[in-house]
Every structure is written in structure tokens, then in C-alpha cells.
Symmetry: C2
Subunit: 428 residues, 2 copies
């Protein structure tokens, strides 16, 4: 009952989402399994960016802040992202980077936690040690400012450490290394039960798995525009704030775009109503326009079942990859680092290997299968990882077959041990 190429071809032919791939420019002879790092280029993006540069900037010039909708773009683009993550209209804005947005919401969450009956007991921001490092760095900075401590525990010990000493639980919904996914509603509920607030990073969730921030009663969330949303390199990130918190406090990056009346040019900061106060300065409009195009693919997917259909395909793709690796790449020291249980899996599969993970990834890239390497090491106690993202908008089942076939050949031929694949410099 092993799976054949022919069966993969059949799966593609029966895939009702298969046509969405035509919305993207994907290099020939490439299986791109790194959309969880940088999504591919939508075909419509170049025309849109050209129009922004040539006409809106070149001809419209300063007038385009209004006439081309530049000034309103954080809210307009934000409302499109909102639909993918269970946010209501006007609860989410596209802006700045994920790190900067995390600073804003974690700062706000720490302020909010001071109003909790448990505030006198608060000692910690709680997170997990394999969380994406920038989240930990931002939390360290804010903990130092506010006399809190960042407590880092193993990802499945988080719940055991949730108690009234925790001011804020800060988690990434889908782990960047392993693809392991938390149950957002359950973890948020447990946080709330001890008086903690829940801040979620959706970098590897938005556009990858169904997310329902309001159903989960999450408090704050941030996420990334250039991974599954296909917004291009350095696309604006996003920030969501539960509407019950949105009008509380000034977030600290209190710039003019977050002012109630920015063009009154008053000397006194007065925050805009709602999530718009989480804006700071002028947005990167060319990148913002590319992000807006990236979201069009999700509008096209909506008619085909939306995020639920994408999730179903994503699980089928990752199931297939796991099965094919198990069937065809045994005996080469590979482990599956991603949870097998669907409810705990994002849209990626990670393979672990004690040594050689970097070189194997490099050898695969040379063969046109683009995944990436994520180092383990002493600071996390985790193994090195070969990471493969499966973006259901544009990855098919034969792609999965081809990826595993190339992986098998790289391992069988030992070609990854060649000098050229050894680590020579930092990789992104």
C-alpha cells in the first residue's frame, strides 16, 4: 500500500484548489517548500507595483496619499487579513514589522495586566524556549523595562507553568521550527483562568491554518505579511487587538498615524479610536500594495471553500510528505519533528537529523527543492531541522512526490557530503 507517483498525479487532478496555482509565478523546475519563510510572487503583483510607482507616485505624487488610498491602506489591507484570522471589521491593521507590532501589543498587555486582581503577584511573561527568537528578544526588552521576568519553558510544559504569577502568556500559534500548533482557544482560556492575558504571534498561522481570534477570545495578536500571505520581502506585518482592549492605553510607539486627527497637527497626542492607534509613522506603501495583491489569492480561494478547504489540502499535503518520507527515506537517520496529530500541526513538516541537516538542505536546493535549515543547538536543546512548508495555494501533490524523490536521491548518493554544501555563511 505504498503511494506511487501516479496516485499523486490523481490527487492533483482531483484537487479543486489546484487552479489557484495559476495565480502565482513559480520558477521552473522548482519545488518551493519555503513559503513559510517568503511566499512566492503572485502574477498580479508586478502590474500593481508598476502602477503604484509609475502612476500613483510618479504622476499622482503627494495627491496619492488621498486619491490612491495610500493613507487608508493599513485599515483597508488589515480588513482583508482580518477575514483570515477571525477578526471583525476594523479590528486589525497592516503596519510595520512583526517585531515592532509585538512590542506595541506586549507593552499594552503588560499595562493591561496591571489592572488585574492578580497584578501584585505578577512576576512573569511566560513563553516557550523554542519560540521565534525575535519574540523573545522583544519580550526581554519589555520585561527589563517593567521589572518582570521572561520565563521560558518547553513547549508542552507551558500549561503547567500558567499560574497567578503570569502577567502575560506570549505564544506563537504555530512553531517556526517544528510546525507544532497550539490550541489557541484552550490555551487562551487557561491563561484567562489564572488572570493572565494571551498574546499570539500568527506569523506561521495567518493564511496557513484556520484562526479565529474572536472565538478564542484572544487578547492581542500580531502576524507576518510575507510568509503565507505572499506579500513580498518585508511586507507590512499586522496587529490585532481585542475590541474590548482596543481603546485602552496609548501604545508606546505613539506616532502621528495613530493620532485621532493627524492632520490637525496638534502638539498633544490623542490616540485614534480602536486599533488605528497601533499605527505609528508612515507606511511602506510600495510593499503595502504588494501585500494587498497577495491577499487576492485568498479572495479567489473563498469561492472554493476558503481557509477550511485550504486547511484540508494542507493536511493532505503534509500527511503525504510524512508518509512518503517514511516509505522512501528510511535508514538515513531522519526523524519527523512535526506532530502527527492534525490538531497539533501547522502547514509545514520538519525533519530532524543529528548531523548534516544544513548540507542536505543545500543539496536539495541545488536540485530545485527549496526548503530551509533551522539550527538547533545548546540554547534550545532541540535538534537541527530540515524545514519544509506546504502552501496549499500553490503546492500540489506531485510537488510533494518530487521533493521526497529528490531527498531520497540526495541521501542515497551521499552528494550532500560534498564540500560545496558545507555551511559557509549565515543563512536566512
Amino acid at each position: 500500500m505504498t503511494i506511487s507517483l501516479k496516485e499523486c498525479q490523481l490527487m492533483d487532478s482531483q484537487d479543486t484548489l489546484a487552479g489557484l496555482r495559476d495565480l502565482f509565478d513559480i520558477p521552473e523546475n522548482t519545488v518551493y517548500l519555503d513559503g513559510n519563510s517568503l511566499g512566492v510572487l503572485p502574477k498580479a503583483t508586478l502590474n500593481r507595483v508598476t502602477d503604484v510607482v509609475k502612476n500613483e507616485w510618479g504622476q499622482g505624487l503627494i495627491r496619492s496619499w488621498n486619491s490612491a488610498g495610500w493613507f487608508a491602506s493599513p485599515q483597508r489591507v488589515g480588513n482583508k487579513i482580518a477575514k483570515l484570522v477571525g477578526a471583525y471589521e476594523n479590528e486589525l491593521v497592516a503596519t510595520d514589522s512583526t517585531s515592532i507590532n509585538l512590542y506595541k501589543v506586549l507593552f499594552a498587555a503588560i499595562q493591561k495586566a496591571k489592572t488585574s486582581p492578580y497584578s501584585a503577584q505578577h512576576r512573569y511573561v511566560l513563553s516557550e524556549k523554542s519560540n521565534f527568537p525575535t519574540d523573545l528578544y522583544i519580550a526581554q526588552s519589555l520585561c527589563a523595562q517593567f521589572g518582570l521576568e521572561l520565563k521560558l519553558v518547553h513547549w508542552n510544559d507551558v500549561q503547567a507553568h500558567l499560574n497567578s504569577e503570569v502577567a502575560v502568556l506570549m505564544l506563537t500559534h504555530v512553531n517556526y521550527r517544528t510546525g507544532a500548533m497550539y490550541d489557541m482557544a484552550s490555551m487562551t482560556e487557561k491563561a484567562h483562568s489564572v488572570g493572565a492575558l494571551a498574546v499570539w504571534d500568527l506569523a506561521h498561522s495567518a493564511g496557513a491554518v484556520p484562526v479565529d481570534l474572536n472565538a478564542a477570545q484572544a487578547d492581542y495578536a500580531v502576524g507576518c505579511g510575507y510568509k503565507y500571505l505572499n506579500g513580498g520581502p518585508g511586507a507590512p506585518a499586522f496587529v490585532w487587538v481585542n475590541s474590548s482592549h482596543a481603546n485602552e492605553f496609548h501604545q508606546p510607539l505613539a506616532g502621528w498615524w495613530g493620532h485621532a486627527t493627524p492632520f490637525q497637527f496638534t502638539t498633544q497626542y490623542e490616540p485614534a479610536a480602536g486599533v488605528s492607534r497601533y499605527l505609528c509613522g508612515t507606511q511602506a506603501i510600495i510593499n503595502m500594495s504588494a501585500l494587498e495583491v497577495g491577499l487576492e489569492a485568498f479572495e479567489a480561494a473563498q469561492a472554493l471553500g476558503g481557509m477550511d478547504a485550504l486547511r484540508k489540502k494542507s493536511l493532505a499535503l503534509t500527511d503525504l510528505f510524512i508518509q512518503l518520507v517514511n516509505e522512501r527515506c528510511t535508514g538515513f537517520g531522519l526523524g519527523i519533528a512535526t506532530p502527527l496529530e492534525h490538531s497539533m500541526r501547522g502547514s509545514q513538516v520538519c525533519l530532524s537529523r543529528e548531523t548534516g541537516a544544513y548540507a542536505i538542505v543545500q543539496a536539495l536546493i541545488a536540485r530545485g527543492v527549496i526548503g530551509d535549515f533551522r539550527a538547533g543547538g545548546a540554547s534550545t536543546g532541540e535538534p537541527d531541522i530540515l524545514r519544509f512548508g506546504f502552501t496549499p495555494l500553490y503546492i500540489g501533490f506531485v510537488d510533494v512526490w518530487n521533493a521526497v524523490e529528490q531527498l531520497k536521491q540526495v541521501l542515497e548518493t551521499n552528494e550532500w557530503q560534498a564540500e560545496q554544501f558545507k555551511q559557509a555563511h549565515a543563512v536566512t
Copy 2:
């Protein structure tokens, strides 16, 4: 001895910088005097942006972080800006927005001020009340965090308020409303003499007037990429830190791009050496690439005398505009709000008028002369402003003539009083 159109034509023909205008796409029948708000489109930008989107992103995908130099772009672009503002190599990075960068450096400056012998006396961040509002909002946020007060005084009273109670003097070098310019070296020296640090906003200086941060012994500076640097809407801003301070403290937005070894993915933040620690998250690469093209015009100008030659032309343009307004637009209630003294003037001229400034600007725009309106009002005690920026890279002397001719006609015909020019909505 009034100036004629013919004389303006002669000035253009004798202008050794006139050829630089060919580097830019400027809409036909337009006199664009708003480059101090959004610079015009360089002709080379569209091809560069197309290459970034189509090839670097579309084909190179994730590999382009290294192979296309994306990851190193804040430093690479920063080094090009450094030459315009008297910064040394590797002292300046292009990143984020001006507001966000101001938060970083003002936070650092307040930390640094705690090491001053005067720190026990420190009560204030000192600025001027007509400073650009976002600077004041960011300062308010940080003052609230650190128990300081933001003291705002009239722009020519700043010196009188510099005393040992001032932790940080925060000024914009060239005022956005009036075009009035501080003597950076002198004000910095006075700040230092009372134990205060000097933070400079170069939004209306970089690329507009000669700046020498190191000669002035300034402490921290930020600036804008989309005004005189022609980087396009929402171009990355920049941040400079005096090398004697650059390795002190973590700036609070301590994200992974500012880490010493970001791709080691360690859980502990360790700041990069030097100004790179002022980076936070992933940069807007498409906008960054446009900014890099914007700087090429200054490389071309270098062979023609560089910033000194541009400054000479800028003063000639603003002198001409002032003279023509005085000669040809008398009796219409216009005042000159920009200092007549060269050493105190940026690269813009502002006209004040008790009423109608907004409508007059709108009527001028309808005639193809694009300046902008800046409200005065109760909070600053300043009059409404008609603002005209003169970018010596692409504005000529006949442009100045044409602008004043149209202004004269708008005033003589009273057409600005038509219904369509009345303020209808917020303007940028």
C-alpha cells in the same frame, strides 16, 4: 530692477546642476514644489523595482536575502545616506519609519542622560512647540514612561531654556512648517554645556542642506527617506548614533535584525556592535530598493559639487521665489514665514496668510503648481501656511517664475474663493 522671465531662463541656462533634472520623471505641466513632503520619481526606480519584484523575489525567492543583498541593505543604503549628513561609514542604517527611529534614539538618549552628573536634576526633554507633531507624540510617550516632562517652547526661546534640568534637547533641524533652520553645531554645543544630549531630526535636512553630524558632535539623529532623498512613498527612514554612544544600551525595539548573530537563533538577545543594533525586524525590501535608487542622484551630483553646490542652488531658488513674491504678489495679505537669513533657512519657503491659505493652495494645484498647506491654529499659535519646497536636484529657475506667476493669477482672479477649493477633507 525687477526680475523678468528672461532672467530666470538665463539662470537656468547657467545652472551647472540643471542636467540632474533629467534623472527624474516629473509630470508634464507641473511645477512640483512639494518634494519636502514626497520627492519625485527617479527614472531609474521603476526598472529597479521591477527587477526586485520579478527577478529577485519571483525567481530568487528566499535565496535573495543573501544573493541579492537584501539582508545587508539597511547598512548598504545607510552608508550612502551617511555621506549626505556627515556620518562616517557604518554609523547609519536605513530602517523603519522616522517616528519609530526617534523612539529608539530618544529612549537611548534618556538612558544615556542617566549617566550624566546632572541626572538628579533632570526633569525635561526640551523641544519647540512647532516641531513636527509625531516627534512630540513620541517624546510624550517616552517622557510618561520615564517620569520626565516634555517642555515645549517657541523655536527661538530654546536656548534660553537650556539648563541642567534638561536631559535631552530634541529638535528638528529644519522646521517642517516654516523652513527655519537651527545651527546644529551651536545648539548641540549649548546642550552639551549644560549636560544635555542633542537628538536631531533631519527629515527636512538630509539631501536638502549640508549637514555634518560628526562636526557638530551631535548625539543621535533620525531622518526621512521619502522627502529630499526621493525614496518613494513610505521609504525607510534612517537612524544615526554617534559612535561614542553606539555600543551603549540596548535600544528597546530589540528585534532579531539588531542581534549580534541573528541566524544562530539563540534565545538571549545580544545586540550587534554599532548602529546595527538599532535595527528591529524585517525591512520593507521593495521600498528599500527604491530608496537606494533615490540616492543615486546624489552620487551624480557629487561630480558637480555635491551638497555644497546643491545648497547654493537651493538658496538661489528660494531667494528668487521670495523676491518674485515680494515684487509680483503684493497687496494680497501674504507674509514670508521663512527666515530671510541664509544661515537660518532650509530648502523651502513658506507664505503665511490669515485666511484662505488652504483654498489658495488648492487653486494652485488645479493650475499645476503643487505646494501644500499646513494648518496653524490654537495649539501652536502660528498662522496657516502655504508651503513650497525647492528641491535643487530637479527644480529650476523658470519653475520658480511659473509658480509665482500662477500664484499671482490665483490671487488676482480670486478664483481660490470658488466652492471647489474649500476644505472638504483631511489633507496630507
